[in-house]
């Protein structure tokens, strides 16, 4: 016989879990007692939100399922933003929360929160365990659900008495669900039809989203692009699906996408959407989105097909399998020479650019230098705001899973804990959090976690003294009425670093940027680089919200 707490630890071992991110409290003391003797690596974060983001960053960097533990009540509610972030971006995660003992549920007991209720709209599925005999199979099911199909977070609420009750332990290998099926092979007639459409197209574009990354289909995307000479635009989540410097890559599409990506989508005759969900940040005005195109939508989630945009051809399945099958079926290459010439013209005439004037450091330049120094081979996490968009625009990612950013929810404070998770998942890789002065302050308590586990994460703060992205909107659309967007004071990040025992470097002149970044990258431990950048720089191009992709400011 084993206690529930032991069963949880043994089940995690059975799942091959190497690291869990958590924070203890009354309702999980029995579980933590068993973790004490376990070989499982537990990372003690300094705020539960960070546990969820770190597990999420770990999952994005490694492709494995992230695991989180928190106590009941406030511990559990602190996870909400982290779970929602993972849900919006379809990240596999299993979350364990403590709960008051079964007889105490429903009585507003101390630290009781209905976390399965609270998280209902932001989980793929959730369980409240009521019988210790079902604990192991519940854990097996949770890992299965989180990591298959369209991935996502699954929550298991663990009443304290369940953790202490005893049962026989046997870990099920099989799972069975009456109401859950993982889509596999696509319909071959549809694949054939799609292959034909691609061959007949004159102006094709591939639009690659986060699904390409999660299904491990980067190779297949590049294969399809090269075989058919089709240019590729990526979403924020799809960044890395094709190297940003690949000749067929057009960079990011959407609100802050490149001129040529947005023009390509707006003029193509065939749009092949792969693992993407036609988010409003990508499409702008739906009525003018890809107006000349037939749309092929390849996605694992049937509910995405036709959700925002009507499509002519839908292939439901794991995008990796669909793309493999599609490539086998492709015979004719589209005659797209003229189209590629046109795109080359757009690229030439409207490159991504910024003005390098005066002595102020341009934030874009900082990102460009990071890109150059790392060769696009580092894992970059981002915060949210201008820093995120500049990172997306100017960091030339070489491979999948090395650009980690909160896309759907846009969660400030994500990047630092995500970097913690990514670094733990990939100890031999260089991990850099491209941060903003505002976002950094939302989870800076994690500096302690970084120090405790000696994680050599580099934090590059693009310090503009503003909630820059909001300020940009106020400048452009509200007559520069900077309502509550100036951050006074911004703390002295170097002193702050020192308080945690972290190396701090400040850079104030453009010419020092490369050497300071290099020093940071070479340094074996964690570093904060405080880049004092131009305060009122804007992210361009920009499609105003709800506008047409061809109507770009600063294109």
């Amino acid at each position: 016989m084993m206690t529930g707490a032991e069963i949880i630890v043994k089940s995690l071992e059975q799942e091959g879990v190497e690291v869990v991110f958590g924070y203890p409290g009354g309702a999980v003391i029995p579980l933590y007692d068993k973790l004490y003797d376990s070989p499982l690596k537990h990372i003690l974060v300094r705020h539960e939100q960070a546990a969820a983001h770190a597990a999420d960053g770990y999952a994005r960097a490694t492709g494995k399922t992230g695991v989180v533990i928190a106590t009941s009540g406030p511990g559990a509610t602190n996870l909400v933003t982290g779970i929602a972030t993972a849900a919006m971006d379809s990240i596999p995660m299993v979350v364990f929360t403590g709960q008051v003992a079964l007889p105490a549920i429903g009585r507003d007991s101390f630290q009781e929160a209905d976390i399965t209720g609270i998280t209902l709209p932001i989980v793929k599925h959730s369980y409240l365990v009521r019988d210790v005999n079902e604990l192991a199979s519940t854990i097996r099911s949770a890992f299965y659900l989180a990591s298959t199909g369209r991935q996502g977070p699954v929550l298991i609420d663990l009443p304290k008495d369940i953790q202490m009750a005893e049962a026989e332990f046997s870990y099920p290998q099989e799972v069975s669900f009456r109401g859950y099926r993982v889509p596999g092979e696509p319909n071959s007639a549809m694949v054939y039809q799609t292959a034909k459409k691609i061959g007949l197209s004159r102006r094709p574009v591939i639009y690659a989203g986060g699904g390409v990354i999660s299904s491990g289909a980067a190779e297949e995307i590049i294969g399809l692009a090269e075989k058919t000479n089709t240019p590729v635009v990526t979403t924020l989540m799809g960044k890395g699906a094709i190297a940003d410097d690949h000749p067929l890559s057009l960079g990011m599409v959407g609100m802050h996408g490149t001129y040529y990506a947005n023009y390509a989508v707006s003029h193509c005759d065939l749009l092949i959407a792969v693992g993407a969900r036609f988010s409003d940040r990508v499409t702008g005005n739906l009525d003018t989105f890809a107006p000349h195109a037939e749309i092929i939508h390849i996605d694992i989630d049937a509910a995405e097909i036709g959700k925002n945009v009507g499509v002519q051809c839908a292939l439901q399945g794991d995008v990796k399998l669909v793309l493999q099958e599609l490539q086998r079926r492709i015979e004719g290459k589209p005659q797209s020479e003229k189209w590629l010439e046109q795109i080359a013209c757009w690229k030439e005439e409207h490159p991504l650019t910024y003005e390098q004037d005066g002595d102020e450091i341009k934030p874009q330049y900082v990102v460009e230098q990071i890109s150059e120094l790392t060769g696009g081979n580092a894992i970059v996490t981002t915060e949210v705001g201008q820093n995120q968009m500049w990172a997306a625009q100017y960091y030339k990612a070489k491979k999948p899973r090395c650009f980690i950013s909160s896309g759907g929810l846009g969660t400030m404070g994500y990047g630092l804990p995500a970097a913690v998770g990514a670094q733990l998942g990939c100890p031999d890789q260089l991990v850099i959090d491209i941060s903003g002065d505002g976002s950094f302050q939302m989870n800076l308590q994690e500096l302690a976690t970084i120090v405790q586990y000696q994680l050599p994460v580099k934090i590059v703060i693009l310090n503009n003294g503003y909630l820059g992205m909001v300020r940009q909107w106020q400048e452009l659309f509200h007559e520069k009425r900077y309502s509550q967007t100036e951050l006074i004071p911004v703390p002295d990040f170097i002193k702050l670093a020192a308080a945690y025992g972290i190396k701090g470097l400040r850079v104030q002149r453009t010419e020092d940027v490369p050497s300071v970044l290099e020093e940071a990258i070479k340094y074996p431990g964690p570093v904060i680089v405080d880049c004092v950048v131009a305060k009122e720089e804007n992210v361009f191009p920009m499609v105003p919200a709800g506008g047409s992709l061809t109507n770009m400011l600063g294109g």
């Binding site: 399965t116 009456r178 049937a302 509910a303």
Partner: protein, 163 residues
């Protein structure tokens, strides 16, 4: 247009919340919802009537189908089906009008299931049209209370869930 969705779900706590929550979260309106256990005690069946064009309904069905506890969903409005609803109506009924009310009850093949000093409770089963009609007929007497079960529906012939 109104659509009738037949949904088989795991008979587990929380399922109703998951289903209802999905409707409100995604902005779909439930016109009527009825739920109860099937002949398999592990499975409940919901009948949900929802208004929307075919694109909305397509989304509703697909989103419902994604819920792990939802075993099967189908829009049966287009199929040859029966639908029924049960209504209880408490109507004001002083002795001098009881005869008239009983005639109405007969016409609708409804039943009087309780007699009070000043009121009657009438039980009536039928499709939406019949329910509306009896309600209208009884209105002039003064309806004191009315409760309906929500629509339940079944496709004729072939067995749903095994087709």
């Amino acid at each position: 247009m109104s659509h009738i969705l037949a949904i088989l779900v795991e008979n587990q706590s929380g399922v109703l919340t998951r289903v209802a929550g999905l409707f409100s979260r995604r902005g779909y309106n439930i016109d009527s919802l009825a739920v109860g256990q099937t002949h398999d005690p592990g499975v409940s069946r919901m009948t949900i009537v929802v208004d929307g064009d075919s694109r909305v309904i397509d989304q509703v069905v697909k989103q419902l189908d994604k819920l792990v506890d939802v075993i099967e969903v189908s829009d049966i409005s287009g199929d040859e089906h029966l639908d029924r609803e049960l209504v209880l109506i408490k109507v004001e009924a002083e002795p001098e009008v009881r005869g008239e009310i009983m005639q109405i009850v007969d016409i609708f093949r409804a039943r009087i299931v309780d007699i009070g000093h000043h009121s009657l409770i009438i039980e009536c089963t039928g499709d939406a049209g019949k329910i509306r009609a009896i309600e209208n007929s009884l209105k002039p007497f003064g309806i004191l209370e009315l409760v309906r079960t929500g629509k339940i529906a079944m496709v004729r012939g072939q067995k749903y869930g095994e087709g």
